[in-house]
Amino acid sequence: VDVSAVRAEIKDVLQAALTGWRVESYLPESPNPPCLLVGYPTDIVYNATLRAHARITMPIMVLVGAADARSAQLRMDEALGTDSGSVVDALHGTSGTAWFGPIIVKSAGNVGRAVTDGGAQLFAADIVIEFLA
């Protein structure tokens, strides 16, 4: 499993499907919202099949600036929904070369406020995806 390649390809899929979002395949020192960050795997189950595919769970972090609360929440709604322009619509069922089979977008959570090291107010959420690689 090439985790870096997986993260890079997921980033490309999101960037191609969604407009108005900066998408990063790594966790930047200083995020620039609105952005989607392909997070680090929270769980890797090795040897999920006889061919040693791994089952990977990882978050897609959604960050929007919270200077204007209403517009921030509308932007978050767009990402967390299931319509066109959402992360679910962009990723769910997507096949790739760096992973095996379709991506399953499992859930969203951890919605709330966050503050960057620089003191910027953010609205944040995690969208959890799962796939074999």
């Binding site: 006889l50 040693a52 595919h53 089979g101 399953i104 074999l132």
Partner: protein, 147 residues
């Protein structure tokens, strides 16, 4: 060689029909997440006689293979092979498997035989991978190769 526990990391090849060679089988190892070869023996109840009390004796032996697999509606894989076998009159699938990915040897034999497909399923829980678990009886015993 000293005893050591087996960690399953083998292979499984399948093909619909009987009498297939190894080269005609499809490697489905990337779809299989559990595999077991099972041997069960039936028992026979012996009626009591004046000289011998009622008892149990060894009966015939039944071989079977248990396969847990991922399934898909497209491409070639376990589901397609089992579905084709279920549509055939004899329901036979040739199989060949190993328990580790090491070379075939006395400590890592290759098993092959013919199984009878008795069922298969596709689908499952919404928004989860489609999986199935089946245990199929073998037509007879397996052939074990060590080289």
């Amino acid at each position: 060689m000293a005893w050591e526990p087996l960690v399953l990391k083998g292979s499984l090849k399948l093909g619909t029909g009987s009498g297939l060679t190894s080269g005609q089988l499809l490697d489905v190892s990337d779809q299989v997440y559990a595999m077991q070869i099972l041997i069960n023996r039936n028992t026979v109840e012996v009626p009591a006689t004046l000289g011998q009390p009622r008892g149990t004796r060894a009966g015939g032996t039944q071989y079977s293979v248990k396969v847990d697999y991922l399934s898909a509606v497209s491409g070639s894989g376990c589901w397609q092979i089992f579905e084709a076998a279920l549509a055939a009159a004899d329901g036979i699938v040739c199989w060949e498997g190993r328990m580790t990915d090491a070379s075939i040897s006395a400590t890592n034999p290759s098993y092959r035989g013919e199984l009878i497909v008795t069922g298969a399923a596709i689908g499952g829980t919404a928004e989860e991978l489609s999986t199935d678990s089946q245990t199929f009886p073998l037509v007879s015993s397996y052939l074990k190769s060590t080289s």
